[in-house]
Protein backbone atom coordinates (compact mmCIF):
# COMPACT_ATOMS: atom_id res chain seq x y z
CA UNK A 1 0.00 0.00 0.00
CA UNK A 2 2.70 2.37 1.10
CA UNK A 3 4.85 1.28 -1.81
CA UNK A 4 2.04 2.13 -4.23
CA UNK A 5 1.55 5.52 -2.65
CA UNK A 6 5.25 6.31 -2.85
CA UNK A 7 5.31 5.23 -6.47
CA UNK A 8 2.33 7.46 -7.27
CA UNK A 9 4.03 10.38 -5.53
CA UNK A 10 7.23 9.86 -7.54
CA UNK A 11 5.15 9.83 -10.73
CA UNK A 12 3.56 13.13 -9.75
CA UNK A 13 7.00 14.60 -9.08
CA UNK A 14 8.35 13.40 -12.42
CA UNK A 15 5.30 14.76 -14.25
CA UNK A 16 5.76 18.16 -12.63
CA UNK A 17 9.39 18.29 -13.73
CA UNK A 18 8.50 17.28 -17.30
CA UNK A 19 5.77 19.92 -17.23
CA UNK A 20 8.29 22.54 -16.14
CA UNK A 21 10.61 21.38 -18.90
CA UNK A 22 7.79 21.75 -21.45
CA UNK A 23 7.00 25.20 -20.13
CA UNK A 24 10.61 26.39 -20.25
CA UNK A 25 11.09 24.99 -23.76
CA UNK A 26 8.08 26.91 -25.12
CA UNK A 27 8.68 30.17 -23.27
CA UNK A 28 12.13 31.15 -22.03
CA UNK A 29 14.47 28.93 -24.00
CA UNK A 30 13.37 28.18 -27.55
CA UNK A 31 16.57 26.17 -28.19
CA UNK A 32 15.63 23.61 -25.58
CA UNK A 33 13.72 20.79 -27.31
CA UNK A 34 10.32 20.15 -25.78
CA UNK A 35 9.60 16.75 -24.22
CA UNK A 36 7.50 15.77 -27.26
CA UNK A 37 10.15 16.84 -29.72
CA UNK A 38 12.77 14.97 -27.70
CA UNK A 39 10.66 11.83 -27.85
CA UNK A 40 9.92 11.98 -31.60
CA UNK A 41 13.53 12.67 -32.50
CA UNK A 42 14.93 10.04 -30.12
CA UNK A 43 12.47 7.21 -30.41
CA UNK A 44 14.57 5.30 -32.95
CA UNK A 45 17.28 5.08 -30.33
CA UNK A 46 14.87 4.02 -27.63
CA UNK A 47 12.66 1.64 -29.58
CA UNK A 48 15.57 -0.13 -31.25
CA UNK A 49 17.89 0.20 -28.28
CA UNK A 50 20.51 -2.28 -29.50
CA UNK A 51 20.73 -1.30 -33.18
CA UNK A 52 24.04 -0.44 -34.72
CA UNK A 53 23.70 1.87 -37.72
CA UNK A 54 27.14 3.42 -37.58
CA UNK A 55 30.07 4.00 -35.24
CA UNK A 56 28.37 6.89 -33.48
CA UNK A 57 24.80 6.05 -34.46
CA UNK A 58 23.66 3.21 -32.23
CA UNK A 59 20.72 2.29 -30.02
CA UNK A 60 20.81 4.01 -26.65
CA UNK A 61 21.17 0.85 -24.59
CA UNK A 62 24.01 -0.27 -26.85
CA UNK A 63 25.70 3.06 -26.16
CA UNK A 64 24.99 2.67 -22.46
CA UNK A 65 26.49 -0.81 -22.57
CA UNK A 66 29.74 0.55 -24.05
CA UNK A 67 29.85 3.13 -21.29
CA UNK A 68 29.02 0.58 -18.61
CA UNK A 69 31.77 -1.70 -19.84
CA UNK A 70 34.25 1.16 -19.70
CA UNK A 71 33.05 2.19 -16.24
CA UNK A 72 33.26 -1.40 -15.05
CA UNK A 73 36.89 -1.60 -16.09
CA UNK A 74 37.75 1.74 -14.48
CA UNK A 75 35.81 0.88 -11.34
CA UNK A 76 37.52 -2.50 -11.08
CA UNK A 77 40.86 -0.78 -11.37
CA UNK A 78 39.78 1.69 -8.68
CA UNK A 79 38.78 -0.95 -6.15
CA UNK A 80 41.76 -3.18 -6.97
CA UNK A 81 44.04 -0.30 -6.06
CA UNK A 82 41.79 1.38 -3.49
CA UNK A 83 40.99 -1.61 -1.27
CA UNK A 84 44.56 -2.68 -0.45
CA UNK A 85 45.51 0.97 -0.08
CA UNK A 86 42.68 1.40 2.42
CA UNK A 87 43.82 -1.64 4.38
CA UNK A 88 47.37 -0.39 4.42
CA UNK A 89 46.40 3.07 5.62
CA UNK A 90 43.93 1.68 8.15
CA UNK A 91 46.56 -0.59 9.65
CA UNK A 92 49.38 1.89 9.88
CA UNK A 93 49.06 5.16 11.66
CA UNK A 94 52.40 6.21 10.20
CA UNK A 95 51.33 5.62 6.60
CA UNK A 96 47.98 7.27 7.11
CA UNK A 97 49.62 10.35 8.60
CA UNK A 98 51.95 10.41 5.63
CA UNK A 99 49.32 10.04 2.94
CA UNK A 100 46.16 11.53 4.37
CA UNK A 101 46.99 15.08 3.24
CA UNK A 102 47.91 13.84 -0.25
CA UNK A 103 44.60 12.03 -0.53
CA UNK A 104 42.67 15.06 0.65
CA UNK A 105 44.36 17.08 -2.10
CA UNK A 106 43.91 14.50 -4.87
CA UNK A 107 40.30 13.77 -4.00
CA UNK A 108 38.63 16.97 -5.22
CA UNK A 109 40.47 17.07 -8.57
CA UNK A 110 38.02 17.00 -11.47
CA UNK A 111 38.15 14.33 -14.18
CA UNK A 112 38.56 17.15 -16.68
CA UNK A 113 41.93 17.85 -15.06
CA UNK A 114 43.11 14.22 -14.99
CA UNK A 115 42.14 13.36 -18.55
CA UNK A 116 44.73 15.43 -20.40
CA UNK A 117 47.37 14.01 -18.09
CA UNK A 118 46.13 10.52 -18.91
CA UNK A 119 46.33 11.26 -22.63
CA UNK A 120 49.89 12.45 -22.25
CA UNK A 121 50.85 9.40 -20.19
CA UNK A 122 49.16 6.73 -22.31
CA UNK A 123 48.89 8.43 -25.74
CA UNK A 124 45.63 6.57 -26.32
CA UNK A 125 42.11 7.50 -25.40
CA UNK A 126 40.95 4.20 -23.90
CA UNK A 127 43.63 3.79 -21.20
CA UNK A 128 43.45 7.52 -20.52
CA UNK A 129 39.71 7.18 -19.86
CA UNK A 130 40.27 4.23 -17.52
CA UNK A 131 43.05 6.10 -15.73
CA UNK A 132 40.72 9.04 -15.19
CA UNK A 133 37.79 6.93 -13.99
CA UNK A 134 39.98 4.99 -11.59
CA UNK A 135 41.74 8.04 -10.19
CA UNK A 136 38.52 9.94 -9.61
CA UNK A 137 36.47 7.12 -8.21
CA UNK A 138 38.84 5.26 -5.91
CA UNK A 139 38.88 7.68 -2.97
CA UNK A 140 35.64 6.63 -1.29
CA UNK A 141 36.89 3.03 -1.41
CA UNK A 142 40.22 4.01 0.13
CA UNK A 143 38.66 6.16 2.83
CA UNK A 144 35.84 3.79 3.77
CA UNK A 145 38.10 0.74 3.85
CA UNK A 146 40.55 2.64 6.03
CA UNK A 147 37.72 3.69 8.33
CA UNK A 148 36.45 0.11 8.44
CA UNK A 149 39.82 -1.27 9.45
CA UNK A 150 40.11 1.35 12.16
CA UNK A 151 36.67 0.56 13.57
CA UNK A 152 37.26 -3.16 14.05
CA UNK A 153 36.35 -3.82 17.69
CA UNK A 154 39.44 -4.45 19.83
CA UNK A 155 37.77 -7.65 21.07
CA UNK A 156 38.02 -9.26 17.64
CA UNK A 157 41.65 -8.28 17.31
CA UNK A 158 42.34 -9.70 20.77
CA UNK A 159 40.72 -12.98 19.73
CA UNK A 160 42.99 -13.09 16.68
CA UNK A 161 45.99 -12.38 18.90
CA UNK A 162 45.30 -14.93 21.64
CA UNK A 163 44.45 -17.58 19.05
CA UNK A 164 47.78 -16.75 17.42
CA UNK A 165 46.35 -16.47 13.94
CA UNK A 166 48.94 -16.14 11.21
CA UNK A 167 48.91 -12.76 9.43
CA UNK A 168 47.05 -14.32 6.51
CA UNK A 169 44.38 -15.99 8.68
CA UNK A 170 44.09 -12.84 10.76
CA UNK A 171 43.34 -11.03 7.52
CA UNK A 172 40.89 -13.53 6.02
CA UNK A 173 39.14 -14.58 9.23
CA UNK A 174 38.97 -11.28 11.09
CA UNK A 175 40.09 -8.11 9.30
CA UNK A 176 38.38 -8.74 5.98
CA UNK A 177 34.96 -9.87 7.26
CA UNK A 178 34.92 -7.09 9.84
CA UNK A 179 35.72 -4.48 7.19
CA UNK A 180 33.50 -5.84 4.43
CA UNK A 181 30.42 -3.67 5.16
CA UNK A 182 32.56 -0.52 5.13
CA UNK A 183 34.29 -1.63 1.95
CA UNK A 184 30.95 -2.07 0.27
CA UNK A 185 29.80 1.39 1.24
CA UNK A 186 33.00 2.61 -0.38
CA UNK A 187 32.37 0.53 -3.50
CA UNK A 188 28.89 1.93 -3.83
CA UNK A 189 30.12 5.52 -3.63
CA UNK A 190 33.02 4.73 -5.97
CA UNK A 191 30.73 3.23 -8.59
CA UNK A 192 28.56 6.34 -8.43
CA UNK A 193 31.62 8.52 -9.03
CA UNK A 194 32.91 6.27 -11.81
CA UNK A 195 29.63 6.67 -13.64
CA UNK A 196 29.75 10.41 -13.07
CA UNK A 197 33.18 10.57 -14.70
CA UNK A 198 32.28 8.52 -17.78
CA UNK A 199 30.71 11.42 -19.66
CA UNK A 200 33.72 13.64 -19.21
CA UNK A 201 36.03 10.79 -20.23
CA UNK A 202 34.06 9.94 -23.38
CA UNK A 203 33.44 13.53 -24.36
CA UNK A 204 37.11 14.36 -24.47
CA UNK A 205 38.21 11.08 -26.05
CA UNK A 206 35.36 10.83 -28.54
CA UNK A 207 34.83 7.13 -27.93
CA UNK A 208 31.43 5.51 -28.53
CA UNK A 209 29.18 5.44 -25.47
CA UNK A 210 26.52 7.72 -24.02
CA UNK A 211 29.04 10.43 -23.23
CA UNK A 212 30.67 10.29 -26.64
CA UNK A 213 27.27 10.30 -28.32
CA UNK A 214 26.18 13.29 -26.24
CA UNK A 215 29.22 15.29 -27.30
CA UNK A 216 28.84 14.34 -30.97
CA UNK A 217 25.19 15.33 -31.03
CA UNK A 218 26.05 18.65 -29.39
CA UNK A 219 28.53 19.28 -32.17
CA UNK A 220 25.88 18.29 -34.76
CA UNK A 221 23.35 20.60 -33.08
CA UNK A 222 20.84 17.78 -32.41
CA UNK A 223 19.87 19.00 -28.97
CA UNK A 224 17.10 16.49 -28.34
CA UNK A 225 19.69 13.70 -28.30
CA UNK A 226 21.59 15.51 -25.59
CA UNK A 227 18.49 15.28 -23.45
CA UNK A 228 18.12 11.61 -24.34
CA UNK A 229 21.68 11.01 -23.15
CA UNK A 230 21.19 12.97 -19.97
CA UNK A 231 18.09 10.98 -19.09
CA UNK A 232 19.85 7.71 -19.89
CA UNK A 233 22.85 8.62 -17.75
CA UNK A 234 20.56 9.46 -14.85
CA UNK A 235 18.51 6.29 -15.14
CA UNK A 236 21.53 4.01 -15.47
CA UNK A 237 23.24 5.71 -12.52
CA UNK A 238 20.10 5.27 -10.45
CA UNK A 239 19.90 1.58 -11.37
CA UNK A 240 23.56 1.03 -10.50
CA UNK A 241 23.15 2.63 -7.10
CA UNK A 242 20.07 0.54 -6.40
CA UNK A 243 21.86 -2.66 -7.36
CA UNK A 244 24.81 -1.83 -5.11
CA UNK A 245 22.35 -0.94 -2.36
CA UNK A 246 20.70 -4.34 -2.63
CA UNK A 247 24.07 -6.09 -2.61
CA UNK A 248 25.02 -4.05 0.45
CA UNK A 249 21.91 -4.95 2.44
CA UNK A 250 22.34 -8.60 1.49
CA UNK A 251 25.86 -8.41 2.81
CA UNK A 252 24.89 -6.79 6.09
CA UNK A 253 22.14 -9.32 6.64
CA UNK A 254 24.48 -12.25 6.01
Amino acid sequence: MNLLKNFALSLVGATLVVGLWALVSTTISKDLPSPIKTWTESKVYILQPFDKRGEMDQGILRMAAYSLYRVAKGFLLAILIGTPLGFLLGNSLLLSKMFDPVIQILRPISPLAWLPLGLILFRQSEPAALFTIALCSMWPTVINTMQGVRSIPQDYLNVATVLRLSPWRRFTKVLLPATLPYMFTGYRLSLGLAWLVIVAAEMLTGTPGVGGFLWQEYNSLIYSHILLCILTIGLVGFALDRLMGIAETRLRAA
Binding site: D155, V159, V162, L163, L165, K173, P177, A254
Partner: protein, 282 residues
Protein backbone atom coordinates in the same frame (compact mmCIF):
# COMPACT_ATOMS: atom_id res chain seq x y z
CA UNK B 1 47.80 -34.28 31.35
CA UNK B 2 50.68 -34.80 33.68
CA UNK B 3 49.98 -32.28 36.39
CA UNK B 4 52.71 -33.56 38.65
CA UNK B 5 55.53 -32.54 36.37
CA UNK B 6 54.12 -29.08 35.82
CA UNK B 7 55.60 -26.08 37.44
CA UNK B 8 53.58 -23.24 38.91
CA UNK B 9 52.69 -20.12 36.98
CA UNK B 10 54.64 -17.29 38.50
CA UNK B 11 53.99 -13.59 38.35
CA UNK B 12 57.14 -11.82 39.42
CA UNK B 13 56.95 -8.29 40.84
CA UNK B 14 54.85 -7.14 37.95
CA UNK B 15 54.52 -3.42 37.35
CA UNK B 16 52.46 -1.76 34.68
CA UNK B 17 52.76 1.89 33.82
CA UNK B 18 50.35 3.47 31.33
CA UNK B 19 51.43 6.64 29.62
CA UNK B 20 48.58 9.14 29.89
CA UNK B 21 48.25 12.75 28.79
CA UNK B 22 48.69 13.79 32.43
CA UNK B 23 51.85 11.75 32.85
CA UNK B 24 52.64 8.10 33.56
CA UNK B 25 49.98 6.21 35.49
CA UNK B 26 51.29 3.33 37.61
CA UNK B 27 48.27 1.03 37.56
CA UNK B 28 49.91 -2.03 39.13
CA UNK B 29 53.10 -2.08 41.15
CA UNK B 30 55.09 -5.04 42.36
CA UNK B 31 52.31 -7.58 42.00
CA UNK B 32 53.52 -11.09 42.87
CA UNK B 33 51.69 -14.38 42.79
CA UNK B 34 52.41 -18.05 42.50
CA UNK B 35 49.69 -20.25 41.07
CA UNK B 36 50.04 -23.97 41.56
CA UNK B 37 49.19 -26.47 38.82
CA UNK B 38 45.52 -27.40 39.04
CA UNK B 39 44.73 -24.52 41.33
CA UNK B 40 41.69 -22.30 40.82
CA UNK B 41 42.64 -18.77 41.81
CA UNK B 42 40.46 -15.70 41.73
CA UNK B 43 41.72 -12.16 41.48
CA UNK B 44 39.33 -9.95 43.37
CA UNK B 45 39.28 -6.21 43.86
CA UNK B 46 37.36 -3.03 43.29
CA UNK B 47 36.58 -1.98 39.78
CA UNK B 48 39.53 -0.17 38.23
CA UNK B 49 42.12 -1.61 40.59
CA UNK B 50 44.09 -3.29 37.83
CA UNK B 51 42.75 -6.85 37.65
CA UNK B 52 42.31 -6.84 33.89
CA UNK B 53 45.71 -5.25 33.49
CA UNK B 54 47.32 -8.17 35.32
CA UNK B 55 45.30 -10.77 33.43
CA UNK B 56 46.04 -9.22 30.04
CA UNK B 57 49.73 -9.43 30.79
CA UNK B 58 49.44 -13.08 31.84
CA UNK B 59 47.52 -13.71 28.60
CA UNK B 60 50.26 -12.01 26.64
CA UNK B 61 47.94 -9.36 25.21
CA UNK B 62 49.86 -6.63 26.93
CA UNK B 63 53.41 -6.42 28.18
CA UNK B 64 54.65 -5.63 31.66
CA UNK B 65 56.61 -2.48 32.34
CA UNK B 66 58.64 -4.39 34.90
CA UNK B 67 58.61 -7.97 36.08
CA UNK B 68 56.92 -10.67 34.10
CA UNK B 69 55.12 -13.97 33.95
CA UNK B 70 56.92 -17.28 34.13
CA UNK B 71 55.41 -20.41 32.65
CA UNK B 72 57.33 -23.70 32.70
CA UNK B 73 60.38 -21.89 33.95
CA UNK B 74 60.44 -19.49 31.02
CA UNK B 75 59.28 -15.92 30.84
CA UNK B 76 56.39 -15.62 28.41
CA UNK B 77 56.76 -13.53 25.28
CA UNK B 78 53.25 -12.73 24.16
CA UNK B 79 50.24 -15.01 23.88
CA UNK B 80 50.37 -18.78 23.75
CA UNK B 81 47.82 -21.46 23.04
CA UNK B 82 48.58 -23.13 26.37
CA UNK B 83 46.94 -20.09 27.98
CA UNK B 84 43.31 -19.73 26.89
CA UNK B 85 41.49 -16.47 27.59
CA UNK B 86 37.78 -15.90 28.10
CA UNK B 87 36.82 -12.26 27.83
CA UNK B 88 34.11 -10.40 29.69
CA UNK B 89 32.12 -9.98 26.49
CA UNK B 90 31.80 -13.25 24.56
CA UNK B 91 33.91 -11.81 21.70
CA UNK B 92 32.69 -14.31 19.17
CA UNK B 93 33.25 -13.43 15.54
CA UNK B 94 29.75 -12.52 14.36
CA UNK B 95 30.28 -13.62 10.76
CA UNK B 96 30.88 -17.22 11.83
CA UNK B 97 28.52 -19.79 13.27
CA UNK B 98 29.00 -21.01 16.82
CA UNK B 99 30.69 -24.13 15.48
CA UNK B 100 33.02 -22.16 13.19
CA UNK B 101 34.05 -19.94 16.08
CA UNK B 102 35.14 -23.01 18.01
CA UNK B 103 36.59 -24.57 14.87
CA UNK B 104 38.86 -21.58 14.37
CA UNK B 105 40.39 -22.24 17.78
CA UNK B 106 40.63 -26.00 17.19
CA UNK B 107 42.38 -25.50 13.86
CA UNK B 108 44.93 -23.27 15.56
CA UNK B 109 45.58 -25.67 18.42
CA UNK B 110 45.56 -28.84 16.32
CA UNK B 111 46.83 -27.86 12.88
CA UNK B 112 47.97 -31.42 12.17
CA UNK B 113 44.45 -32.84 12.31
CA UNK B 114 42.37 -33.15 9.15
CA UNK B 115 39.44 -30.82 8.65
CA UNK B 116 36.92 -33.53 9.51
CA UNK B 117 38.64 -34.39 12.78
CA UNK B 118 38.90 -30.72 13.67
CA UNK B 119 35.20 -30.30 13.05
CA UNK B 120 34.37 -33.34 15.17
CA UNK B 121 36.48 -31.92 17.93
CA UNK B 122 34.78 -28.52 17.75
CA UNK B 123 31.41 -30.29 17.92
CA UNK B 124 32.57 -32.23 20.93
CA UNK B 125 33.38 -29.05 22.81
CA UNK B 126 30.08 -27.45 21.84
CA UNK B 127 28.33 -30.58 23.14
CA UNK B 128 30.28 -30.27 26.34
CA UNK B 129 28.75 -26.86 27.08
CA UNK B 130 25.30 -28.13 26.07
CA UNK B 131 25.01 -26.33 22.75
CA UNK B 132 24.76 -29.22 20.29
CA UNK B 133 21.71 -27.82 18.57
CA UNK B 134 23.07 -24.26 18.36
CA UNK B 135 26.10 -25.24 16.28
CA UNK B 136 24.92 -23.56 13.09
CA UNK B 137 23.56 -20.39 14.63
CA UNK B 138 25.29 -17.06 14.43
CA UNK B 139 26.30 -15.32 17.67
CA UNK B 140 23.76 -12.54 17.06
CA UNK B 141 20.98 -15.13 17.22
CA UNK B 142 22.13 -16.35 20.63
CA UNK B 143 21.52 -14.92 24.09
CA UNK B 144 24.43 -13.37 25.97
CA UNK B 145 24.67 -16.43 28.22
CA UNK B 146 24.67 -18.84 25.29
CA UNK B 147 27.34 -16.78 23.56
CA UNK B 148 29.49 -16.99 26.66
CA UNK B 149 29.03 -20.77 26.63
CA UNK B 150 30.40 -20.81 23.10
CA UNK B 151 33.32 -18.68 24.28
CA UNK B 152 33.98 -21.20 27.06
CA UNK B 153 33.81 -24.05 24.56
CA UNK B 154 36.26 -22.14 22.37
CA UNK B 155 38.68 -21.72 25.28
CA UNK B 156 38.47 -25.36 26.32
CA UNK B 157 38.82 -26.55 22.73
CA UNK B 158 42.36 -25.20 22.77
CA UNK B 159 42.99 -27.85 25.43
CA UNK B 160 45.01 -25.29 27.31
CA UNK B 161 46.84 -25.87 30.58
CA UNK B 162 45.95 -22.46 31.87
CA UNK B 163 42.55 -20.91 31.73
CA UNK B 164 42.37 -17.15 32.15
CA UNK B 165 38.99 -15.53 32.65
CA UNK B 166 38.25 -11.82 32.89
CA UNK B 167 34.92 -11.33 34.65
CA UNK B 168 33.44 -13.97 32.36
CA UNK B 169 29.99 -13.79 33.90
CA UNK B 170 29.95 -10.11 34.82
CA UNK B 171 27.49 -9.13 32.10
CA UNK B 172 24.97 -11.91 32.79
CA UNK B 173 21.78 -11.97 34.83
CA UNK B 174 22.08 -13.76 38.16
CA UNK B 175 20.34 -16.99 37.12
CA UNK B 176 22.43 -17.41 33.98
CA UNK B 177 25.51 -16.49 35.95
CA UNK B 178 24.84 -19.28 38.44
CA UNK B 179 24.29 -21.76 35.60
CA UNK B 180 27.56 -20.83 33.96
CA UNK B 181 29.45 -20.93 37.24
CA UNK B 182 28.26 -24.50 37.71
CA UNK B 183 29.19 -25.33 34.13
CA UNK B 184 32.67 -23.94 34.66
CA UNK B 185 33.05 -25.90 37.91
CA UNK B 186 31.92 -29.09 36.16
CA UNK B 187 34.37 -28.64 33.32
CA UNK B 188 37.14 -27.73 35.69
CA UNK B 189 36.56 -30.82 37.85
CA UNK B 190 37.11 -32.97 34.75
CA UNK B 191 40.79 -32.18 34.33
CA UNK B 192 41.58 -29.43 36.84
CA UNK B 193 43.30 -26.92 34.65
CA UNK B 194 45.16 -24.10 36.33
CA UNK B 195 42.71 -21.20 36.46
CA UNK B 196 43.21 -17.51 37.04
CA UNK B 197 39.88 -15.73 37.09
CA UNK B 198 39.27 -12.02 37.51
CA UNK B 199 36.04 -11.07 39.22
CA UNK B 200 34.54 -8.39 41.40
CA UNK B 201 31.79 -10.70 42.63
CA UNK B 202 32.68 -11.91 46.14
CA UNK B 203 30.29 -14.87 46.11
CA UNK B 204 31.52 -16.02 42.74
CA UNK B 205 35.11 -15.95 43.94
CA UNK B 206 34.23 -17.88 47.12
CA UNK B 207 32.13 -20.44 45.32
CA UNK B 208 34.66 -21.28 42.62
CA UNK B 209 38.14 -20.75 43.99
CA UNK B 210 40.79 -22.59 45.93
CA UNK B 211 42.36 -19.27 46.73
CA UNK B 212 41.39 -15.63 46.41
CA UNK B 213 43.96 -12.96 45.76
CA UNK B 214 42.62 -9.60 46.89
CA UNK B 215 44.10 -6.56 45.25
CA UNK B 216 44.45 -3.17 46.85
CA UNK B 217 42.90 -0.19 45.14
CA UNK B 218 44.93 1.49 42.46
CA UNK B 219 46.99 3.31 41.52
CA UNK B 220 50.03 1.23 42.38
CA UNK B 221 47.77 -1.64 43.25
CA UNK B 222 49.30 -4.86 44.53
CA UNK B 223 48.33 -8.02 46.36
CA UNK B 224 46.64 -7.03 49.62
CA UNK B 225 45.51 -10.34 51.05
CA UNK B 226 45.37 -13.96 50.04
CA UNK B 227 42.69 -16.27 51.36
CA UNK B 228 42.65 -20.05 51.06
CA UNK B 229 39.07 -21.12 50.41
CA UNK B 230 38.82 -24.31 52.35
CA UNK B 231 35.26 -25.19 51.36
CA UNK B 232 35.11 -28.88 50.43
CA UNK B 233 34.81 -29.97 46.81
CA UNK B 234 32.92 -30.80 44.73
CA UNK B 235 30.93 -27.71 45.51
CA UNK B 236 27.27 -27.05 44.90
CA UNK B 237 25.10 -24.05 45.49
CA UNK B 238 23.26 -25.62 48.42
CA UNK B 239 26.15 -27.37 50.12
CA UNK B 240 28.76 -24.67 49.88
CA UNK B 241 26.60 -21.72 50.79
CA UNK B 242 25.50 -23.41 54.01
CA UNK B 243 29.00 -24.32 55.06
CA UNK B 244 30.03 -22.50 58.26
CA UNK B 245 33.33 -21.41 56.73
CA UNK B 246 31.49 -19.66 53.95
CA UNK B 247 30.27 -16.78 56.06
CA UNK B 248 33.53 -16.36 57.88
CA UNK B 249 35.44 -16.16 54.62
CA UNK B 250 32.88 -13.91 53.07
CA UNK B 251 33.09 -11.50 56.02
CA UNK B 252 36.83 -11.44 55.74
CA UNK B 253 36.74 -10.59 52.06
CA UNK B 254 34.15 -7.90 52.58
CA UNK B 255 36.07 -6.43 55.47
CA UNK B 256 39.14 -6.21 53.34
CA UNK B 257 37.26 -4.61 50.48
CA UNK B 258 35.49 -2.14 52.75
CA UNK B 259 38.20 -1.13 55.18
CA UNK B 260 41.61 -2.30 54.23
CA UNK B 261 42.03 -1.84 50.56
CA UNK B 262 42.95 1.84 50.73
CA UNK B 263 45.08 1.38 53.81
CA UNK B 264 46.94 -1.49 52.22
CA UNK B 265 47.70 0.40 49.09
CA UNK B 266 49.27 3.29 50.97
CA UNK B 267 50.49 1.85 54.22
CA UNK B 268 52.05 -1.44 53.23
CA UNK B 269 51.03 -4.79 54.58
CA UNK B 270 52.17 -4.79 58.18
CA UNK B 271 49.99 -5.74 61.05
CA UNK B 272 47.24 -7.75 59.48
CA UNK B 273 47.14 -11.28 60.71
CA UNK B 274 44.18 -13.33 61.55
CA UNK B 275 45.11 -16.55 63.30
CA UNK B 276 41.64 -18.00 63.37
CA UNK B 277 41.30 -17.99 59.63
CA UNK B 278 43.32 -19.24 56.75
CA UNK B 279 44.15 -15.72 55.74
CA UNK B 280 47.68 -15.31 54.54
CA UNK B 281 49.31 -11.95 54.84
CA UNK B 282 51.60 -11.20 51.99
Amino acid sequence: MTMTTQRPLEITSLTKVFPTPSGPHVAVKDFRALIQPGEFVSLLGHSGCGKSTVLAIVAGLSSASEGGVIVDGKEIEGPGLERALVFQTPSLLPWMTALDNVLLAVSQAHPALGHREQKAMASKYLDMVGLTEYANQRPTELSQGTQQRVAIARAFSLEPRFLLLDEPFGALDSITRRELQDLLLDLWEQDRKTVLMVTHDVDEALYLSDRIILMTDGPESRVGLELEITLPRPRSAEGSLDHPDYFRLRREVLQFLEHHSKQFSSGGHAGHSNKKSSAVVV
